[in-house]
């Protein structure tokens, strides 16, 4: 099935606007984001820590709704999902 992962702000600079991916049945949200970022080490490191967990400040959105990064491993991707990954911006 086909899903879309979109990035914002710093993550967009590193990984581009979006990646459309073909994923297997049963793929979780972190699996998907790892799959689409694994070839881009800077982008991957910006999003995941050394244990492969989402960094604490990462904001995840599924179909325009916020999902908790701690809850993300329980969320199974469905066909047509729109996943967005972004960092809060801090400047003023």
């Amino acid at each position: 099935m086909k899903v879309r992962v979109r990035f914002f702000a710093r993550f967009r600079e590193l990984l581009g606007n979006e990646i459309v991916a073909e994923v297997a049945e049963g793929t979780t949200v972190p699996d998907l984001v790892k799959q689409v970022t694994e070839k881009n080490s800077e982008g991957h490191t910006a999003i995941f820590d050394e244990n492969g967990q989402f960094r604490e400040y990462v904001i995840l959105m599924r179909n325009a709704r916020r999902i908790d990064t701690a809850d993300a491993p329980k969320q199974i991707i469905a066909d047509g999902d729109d996943i967005a990954v972004f960092p809060p911006v801090a400047g003023g």
Binding site: A9, R10, R12, F86, V89, G91
Partner: protein, 247 residues
């Protein structure tokens, strides 16, 4: 009561909300935390709109590297306190309002007193520790926090009504790592306008506030998006209001 001069000054906007609306703005007191990239456009437009009392707090001195975005300050102000520079410009823009400026840093020990009896806080800070502090004060005083932040061509904004909507700590439980953000002046200009518009709508009780929604702007793509946010009942900042508000 509005003077003849005020009626003339505000004539075009009073077509939108009349005497009653303008009086609402005149009697309002808004606290603007920071006179930098966001604080500049926010304070200029709120002054021009006739918010009766503006308190602007900043601890910095104008530096040449500020001038690409901090439009309250001019080249001739380099080396001057930002608060003095801000006071001069805001008074020149609108002599019919009261401008208080305070040259200090916003810290745990003074933040509550600095905000005083203001009816709303504009977050024009450049770091999350200061933002979390403002969020806490907004929750304690039960007044709105108008959040904005920028990086490069990207910006975000949301409006927080304590006890009713997601607060800053519900939305961003963890601060991003500190960095010297790249920024182009148009981005805080645009995000500052979202914040100032929210302040006006809140005071005028008009329209639909940007609550429980994070507005995200990508200037490079010229796209705006929004993300729906919810209160976190376990939030360290506003969770205590959860039971008392009964929702």
């Amino acid at each position: 009561m509005l003077s003849e001069r005020e009626r003339e000054r505000y004539n075009r906007q009073m077509l939108l909300f009349g005497d009653a609306g303008q009086e609402q703005l005149k009697k309002a007191h808004i606290f603007i935390a920071g006179a930098g990239g966001l604080g500049s456009p926010v304070s200029i437009y709120l002054a021009a709109a006739g918010i009766g009392t503006l308190t602007v707090v900043d601890r910095d001195v104008v530096d040449r590297s500020n001038l690409n975005r901090q439009i309250l300050h001019y080249d001739s102000n380099i080396g001057r306190k930002k608060t003095e520079s801000a006071e001069e410009k805001l008074r020149a823009i609108n002599p019919d309002i009261t401008v208080n400026v305070i040259d200090t840093s916003i810290e745990e020990k003074n933040a509550g007193n600095l905000v005083g009896n203001a009816e709303g806080i504009v977050d024009a800070m450049d770091n999350y520790p200061a933002r979390y502090l403002l969020n806490k004060i907004a929750v304690n005083k039960n007044i709105p926090l108008f959040h904005g932040a920028v990086r490069g061509f990207y910006g975000q904004a949301t409006t927080i009504i304590p006890g009713q909507t997601a607060c800053l700590s519900c939305i961003f439980p963890q601060a991003p790592p500190e960095e010297e953000s790249p920024v182009i002046g148009v981005t805080p200009g645009l995000i500052g306008m979202v914040q100032a518009t929210e302040v006006l709508k809140y005071l005028l009780k008009k329209g639909e506030l940007l609550t429980n929604r994070l507005f995200i702007w990508d200037g490079l793509q010229a796209r705006a998006e929004e993300i729906y946010m919810e209160r976190n009942p376990l939030c360290t900042a506003c969770g205590s209001l959860y039971e008392t508000s009964g929702d």
